[in-house]
Amino acid sequence: MRTVSYIQAVTEAMTEEMERDESVFIMGEDVAWNMMGDCTGLVEKFGTERVRNTPISEAGFVGAGAGAAMVGMRPIVHMLIAPFMYVAFDQIVSIISKSTYTYGGQARLPITLRAPMMYGVSNAAQHSDRPYATLMTIPGLKLIAPATPHDAKGMLKAAIRDDNPVISFEDRSLWGQSGEVPDDDLIVPLGRAAVRREGTDVTVVTVAGAITLGLAAAEQLAAEGVSVEVVDLRSIVPMDTETILDSVAKTGRLLIADPAHEMGSVASEISAIVAQHGFWSLQAPIARVTTPHTHMPFNADLEKLLLPNADKIVSEVRALME
């Protein structure tokens, strides 16, 4: 075991997969310059052919990733930040998500999009979206949001080896966090949630960076005698509904903490699933701690007001316990 940061874990995942498989390469804006610090050592090891700077042409290079994947490469496409995917939306939706289906299984798209998310840092509305729910409405895409260094490494490696398109939402609020990773090859299968803390009174399902808030809230609530089970969703599509339903069957109460906008969110989807399939376990209404349906303002205080935090989770859980 070694202790590494989330961002180092991501670098290790890419490095190991590029070493292991010649068909893996990375492209995106300024990746060879290691602009974000997540590509440390890559260009030195693999050169600019496989660590490829692109022009600012998202539709072009995301679509080129799809084409390269169709003929057998395994591209990792770096989006810089998630909302830049909007520029490439047609390629993601019409080509990447649909080609395997439309061509009756003839097309294979082993492409990974890395979509770091930056919010809560006064970058205003256009830069701060957490767009996994938007993409969740599109069949044919696997969506992950690893929340620990262990999963950042193991899930990214699994994504690269997957024969399907995977979009990895990396919450930049987690990039600096440290955790243990094993020394040997680490693969974390996609599609499974993880129980991060066991509890008996309330289930708190967290999405992406909300893990930090969920765990902090659980700690605070424990002091008040409330036992919180924290489930880290990790994989958005496919979603591990079994782990969630099992937890709710045990606790009888559910809160979902999701930094994205509330309407049509991952939190909404989980709510619907539990209302439909776990209704008789529930002792209280389902609660959601999300971002309200408005844009991210530039003003730091206003933005902070909108985003989920541990206090909001604590007070919602208290209400559920009444």
Binding site: N53, T54, I56, F84, H127, P297, A300, D301, L302
Partner: protein
């Protein structure tokens, strides 16, 4: 050759000085922690901005980018509400909602400064479409970077404008880099203006550090647009003196000598000062212009500091315009 009288020269210098001092001040405030956010300054690009903006009328529109602190100033905006926006205040041009990457003052004809690279090109094209459809004699001007010229929106916009003969001027501010990547590595041609050939519109490259050269080229394009003869592409070769974003990113992608060369040999303000002297101004007159701008900056900071922060409800206002259909 268009003639530029002394009043115009003075106003050009004044606007360039306002941009320079505004940026120097905001950089200081950012590094001191009073301002925040992703911060892309226009320092070094003053001639390109002012030469372009002054070719427009006040009622002509323009669209800017993530690097557009300077553009509204070039178009004639007041400094106080821009500074208040950078502080996230209620009195800011966007009432604290937009910040550094969206410093747009609609009162002087900005139609937005948009932080998604290349996203402004269609907007400027659409404004020109409206002017043409309504028979207005306005012109739309679009600022964008060398990096943005690689977006699909560049191709789509220039072609639309060409087939519809729209009154739009595309000003590509080629500062040599898009983030850390050199234009040489990202663009298939040396001069972006040559791409105009593919759209059958005029394309010229000018020295972006020479405000009069920019003014002349853009004025010609604006006149052409206003006459109904269609769009043009003007490329201004310029340089950003600061790093891509102030205080944030590594700067290993360009040499200190290169930056130093541009700062000392190719500073648009110093170059223009020389021109003014040749045109009969004396140093004192120019220093007086600078001094007046400094006073304006002090007042703007004061205004911004004294302004109230937006109330919590503001997070929910402006999602829609007030009138329902």
């Amino acid at each position: 050759m268009i003639t530029v009288d002394d009043d115009l020269l003075r106003e050009m210098y004044r606007r360039m000085s306002r941009i320079r001092k505004f940026e120097d001040t905001t950089k200081e405030l950012l590094l001191a922690g009073e301002l925040y956010g992703a911060f892309h300054t226009s320092t070094g690009q003053e001639a390109s901005i002012v030469g372009s903006c002054m070719a427009l009328r006040i009622d002509d529109s323009m669209v800017g980018t993530h690097r557009s602190h300077g553009h509204p100033i070039g178009k004639g905006a007041q400094l106080d509400r821009l500074l208040a926006e950078l502080m996230g205040k209620e009195t800011g041009v966007n009432q604290g909602k937009g910040g550094s990457m969206h410093l747009s003052d609609f009162s002087i004809g900005s139609l937005g400064e948009t932080s998604i690279v290349g996203s402004g090109l269609p907007v400027a094209t659409g404004a020109a479409l409206a002017y043409k459809m309504r028979g207005d004699d306005n012109v739309s001007l679009c600022f964008f970077g060398d990096g943005a010229s690689n977006q699909g929106t560049f191709h789509e916009s220039l072609n639309l404008a060409a087939i519809w003969k729209l009154p739009v001027v595309y000003v590509c501010e080629n500062n040599g880099y898009g983030e850390l990547t050199s234009a040489k590595d990202a663009i298939s041609v040396e001069d972006i203006s040559i791409r105009a050939v593919g759209y059958d519109m005029p394309g010229v490259t000018v020295d972006g550090q020479d405000v009069l050269a920019v003014f002349e080229a853009v004025s010609e394009a604006v006149d052409r647009a206003r006459r109904g003869d269609g769009p043009s592409l003007v490329e201004t070769k310029t340089y950003r003196f600061e790093n891509h974003a102030v205080g944030r990113l590594p700067e290993h992608y360009r040499s200190a000598e290169e930056v130093e060369y541009w700062r000392t040999e190719r500073d648009p303000l110093a170059l223009f000062r020389q021109v003014l002297i040749e045109r009969g101004f004396d140093e004192q007159q120019i220093d007086d212009l600078d001094a007046a701008v400094s006073e304006e900056i002090v007042a703007a900071i004061e205004f911004a500091r004294q302004s109230p922060a937006p109330p919590p409800e503001a997070a929910f206002t402006h999602l829609f315009s007030p009138s329902a259909g």
